[in-house]
């Protein structure tokens, strides 16, 4: 019985990974519904967040 233990443990680990329960697995970004402007770092900002002058540009794409 003991010689089959690694097999069963391996199978269990594969099942957990397939279900997304692997140790260290994290929630992916697509489920994050927070506003981009409230995230840190802000993905729509360039430059030092502590810069003395902050420019906000409102733009259109056409």
């Amino acid at each position: 019985m003991q010689r089959f233990l690694p097999f069963w443990l391996g199978l269990l680990l594969l099942s957990l990974v397939a279900c997304g329960f692997a140790p260290g697995s994290t929630t992916s970004t697509p489920n994050d519904t927070s506003l981009l402007s409230e995230r840190t770092p802000n993905p729509r900002m360039i430059g030092d967040a502590n810069a003395p002058v902050k420019i906000i540009e409102f733009s259109d794409y056409q």
């Binding site: 697509p30 900002m45 360039i46 810069a51 409102f58 259109d60 056409q62």
Partner: protein, 145 residues
């Protein structure tokens, strides 16, 4: 604006945040384009997609937010190396529509009615302006007379 980037952003004096103000009444594809940019932000490529979208509209590669435009944006996503399926799911489910509407509401609250428009430490600057106009304002803010 390369000069602004080199002399002010890269030196830590200025940060620039992009917000959306799609003029949907006259630019029917702008809302989807804003979504495309924001969905690219999820994958760390906001600025590259933004540049690609501007190049694309200049070349008339997309126009009215149609399914064809969605395909074009998907092609852009693939070309800049982001996950196309994740990107398209993000756009079609309007994942960042709330962000765009919040940006639009803020713009209207600030009295903005055209683009581009800039808020520089709370001061409104409307329209595409020459580099010197920015430096005049920024330098005064960094080193008040």
């Amino acid at each position: 604006m390369p000069q602004l980037m080199k002399n002010y952003v890269d030196t830590g004096k200025v940060s620039i945040e992009i917000r959306d103000f799609p003029l949907t009444q006259i630019h029917t594809g702008a809302l989807m384009a804003a979504q495309a940019a924001n969905c690219s932000a999820e994958q760390g490529q906001f600025f590259l997609m933004r540049k690609t979208l501007f190049n694309g509209t200049a070349n008339k590669e997309w126009q009215d937010g149609s399914l064809d435009d969605l395909t074009t944006f998907g092609n852009y996503a693939a070309s800049i190396g982001i996950d196309r399926a994740q990107f398209e799911s993000c756009v079609t489910t309007n994942r960042h529509l709330a962000q765009i509407k919040a940006d639009m509401a803020l713009a209207q609250q600030l009295g903005i009615n055209s683009t581009p428009a800039f808020i520089i430490n709370g001061r409104l600057l409307m329209g595409a302006q020459p580099y010197t106009e920015f430096t005049k304002i920024i330098d005064t803010m960094i080193s008040p007379p």
